[in-house]
Subunit: 269 residues, 2 copies
């Protein structure tokens, strides 16, 4: 096989399998090429991945050596995406009664969701995350996008007990509007002592996140990171969570004047 | 830029943007290469994509001509994935009380979900789908995977009214266990007359799918395809939906003998 053909196949392989460790002999035999040819291929791919801002190839030396693709957005690119989201969200037609914001179209676009996933995954890549956790429903696509780029599974906390998942652990918690709510996680869905990353779409006072943290304590999980797409700025006084990463901060939702301000979250600070 | 470098960048571009139509001059100017060089690059990529079984590049001739990547699993590869899923699901530890099957680990693995998405997207690629629809919760990751490879948005039908989505259309329907349930879709989430593809994880008698179809009628949507990951075989007599594509058929769940049989669905027939 020619180098040009190998480069296409290898690029596809790495993009499909982030964080997967592959030893060079595997590629040598798959493509019937010498180890040194493969090694040169990897240098070209590494260069171009960096150039395109989508990450890099990490080479591991030694007997069990090999290579893996680390998806990694440069900070500038993440900021660019965040600013793009700010512009999208500032559209006043998004304002709903009660000062809520219509975001379903943005969260319904797989490409945008993938970009957001990449931003979070790049920020959390060094934290040795075992699993991404979210609560049904709106955080689910974001959680999968993050998990794809971290190459880990997703576990979904539910607000209702479903018979189809076996024995579960459940907790009650108080949400923002002082209602008592329930959260449930099937016992076999999460190993004890896992390193977890919590992902959600929106945070007001942080009641939901706090609920998830209590539930995760029951599994002796280590919450290594909390990522929320957007936080409501005006709730800052009453916030019960402080160790989170937000991409966007929604301020001054003026339902009457039909105005809204969306700023960068604490991601960059 | 050298051909080898262009090939890496172009491969990444196509894989990230299925179905996106790009005119050749765009690549010419981005990579500072002649149209004929780019054209040769595309031939190499097209060859290798077919070779790897991940689809092909479609060239459009003429003044507004260009190229787009059509993700397309060859049928054999889809069948391979279906058979792999059968083996995974036949594990008797999956049997839950009531004859249900534990599938959350499989649906929680982004790589597996992506593969399933590719299988459905390949089957439905010619149907001119505008949007993928699912009902919360378990079908969501599958819906996003399908939508990614069809390059269309996802719309999520909910079972509860959320204040955060504005005015909605809701219907009542009767589910398998004869309970009356509600389904809700925000008005602004779906354009009238859209071509839709319904995706769900599991189908017994088909009450949920029927409910979605009635709801979609309110939006004058055309249901072009229905894809379910697994169907329960023993409910076939009472089935109220017949125009669906299933990857797996679950038969003979023997809770006592701890046995279960999972066969290919109607995908291949």
């Amino acid at each position: 096989m020619k180098r040009s053909q190998r480069l296409v196949a290898l690029t596809n392989h790495f993009l499909e399998s982030p964080f997967e460790h592959v030893q060079l002999p595997y590629f040598s035999s798959k493509f019937k090429a010498s180890k040194s040819s493969i090694s040169e291929d990897l240098d070209i791919i590494d260069d171009m991945f960096r150039n395109e801002g989508i990450g890099y190839l990490k080479r591991i030396a030694g007997a069990s050596g090999g290579v893996k693709y680390i998806p990694d957005y440069p900070k500038e690119k993440s900021i660019e995406i965040i600013d793009e989201l700010c512009r999208l969200l500032e559209d006043p037609v998004r304002i709903l009664p009660g000062g809520y914001l219509y975001m379903s179209d943005i969260l319904g676009d797989p490409k945008t969701v993938r970009k957001i996933g990449r931003v979070f995954a790049s920020a959390f890549a060094h934290l040795d995350i075992d699993v991404v956790i979210t609560v049904a429903t709106k955080g689910i696509p974001l959680a999968y996008a993050v998990a794809t780029f971290l190459d880990v599974p997703v576990v979904i906390v539910r607000r209702d007990t479903k018979v189809t998942e076996g024995s579960s652990v459940s907790i009650n918690y108080v949400s923002g509007n002082s209602r008592i709510q329930t959260m449930v996680l099937p016992k076999r869905s999460l190993k004890e002592g896992s390193n977890v990353c919590i992902i959600d779409d929106f945070m007001k006072a942080g009641g939901t996140i706090t609920g998830m943290k209590s539930l995760l304590e029951e599994f002796h999980a280590n919450v290594k990171a909390i990522g929320v797409l957007a936080e409501a700025d005006d709730e800052e006084d009453e916030r019960v969570v402080d160790d989170y990463t937000s991409l966007l901060k929604i301020t001054n939702v003026d339902t009457r004047g039909k105005q809204i301000e969306v700023k960068r979250g604490n991601f960059n600070s």
